[in-house]
Symmetry: none
Subunit: 152 residues, 2 copies
DNA sequence: TAATGTTGTGGGGAGATGTGGGTAATTTCC
DNA sequence: GGAAATTACCCACATCTCCCCACAACATTA
């Protein structure tokens, strides 16, 4: 099985302390070098992105190359890092979310965790449906072009 | 976890003596070679920049390489070094700010500390929101290009 | 069916963390 | 040199966070 590659969708409950389970199949492919640590941050959609620690370091290294002299770069670095928090899985395989991220993703009790190859996304189920409906789907030309460029 | 690399955002209170807490997660990644010492100085935005002592030495070396012959270089070197003050964390993990820097960053009781990879920034919360709103964001082409080249 | 392990969810308690204040040492100014 | 002000270091304590244990539901195997 591919290491650090996540696919599939799972439903869990966010508990009163703001903890959420990482799906057992995802825990199994999370490579040991991550030391049970992931980085949670704001996604581009209203969702929480969950990167394996190693994968996030790639982003960090790229950010480090950017000079802080340009205002645009400073702002970009800040928006990227501002919401990023490393968290470690507890003995039960859960992570603790920050209240800001819970708010940002509109999470309530029930959440959906989706594997999107190199990271996971934590969604409010209703929001996920909403966004999925808005975005062009299989009937759109763009979607077909993408599909043709990747599927073999 | 990456040493001397800071991400995330934390809220603290500046006390009557001008002291602020360094977020516990940041203290944990601050490598021992820094000997609990950081350098605080004026940021390019209205914020206080906080460098680990080691990282500041890298900056100093770069400044040293800049020729002092050009007036522009002299001015740049002067503004970077003029306000730079090394401070040591106390037993509780706080640092003492200088009144000049507090004024420069418009700090009042509540402050926000943001990790931006190689340093931290101490902000007046209102100022941070203001600057974030001013700078071209997702609607700017340049910003999107940066995002596409870095986000994975 | 019984036994055993895995998974998801809840909660309690020890230790860490954030914040205020006090006292002694040091500096500043006349 | 001495008084006043500032700084540096230490202690106190309420709150919160993280780590551990518990347990029910389900799956797996003997």
């Amino acid at each position: 099985m591919n290491k650090d590659t996540f696919t599939g969708e799972y439903r869990y409950a966010l508990d009163a302390k703001g903890r959420v389970n990482i799906p057992a199949p995802f825990r199994k492919v999370l490579s040991p070098e991550n030391e049970n640590t992931v980085v949670i941050t704001r996604g581009q959609d209203p969702t929480i992105w969950v990167y394996p620690a190693l994968e996030w370091q790639v982003i960090e290294n790229r950010l480090r190359e950017l000079s802080a002299l340009s205002p645009l770069n400073r702002s970009f670095i800040r928006t990227m890092t501002r919401w990023a928090t490393p968290v470690t899985l507890d003995k039960q395989g859960r992570i603790q979310l920050t209240s800001d991220l819970i708010q940002y993703a509109n999470l309530e009790k029930d959440v959906v965790i989706v594997g999107v190859i190199n990271k996971m996304e934590i969604w409010n189920p209703a929001r996920l449906e909403q966004v999925s409906a808005e975005i062009p789907q299989s009937d759109s030309e763009e979607f077909n072009n993408l599909a043709q460029s990747i599927i073999i």
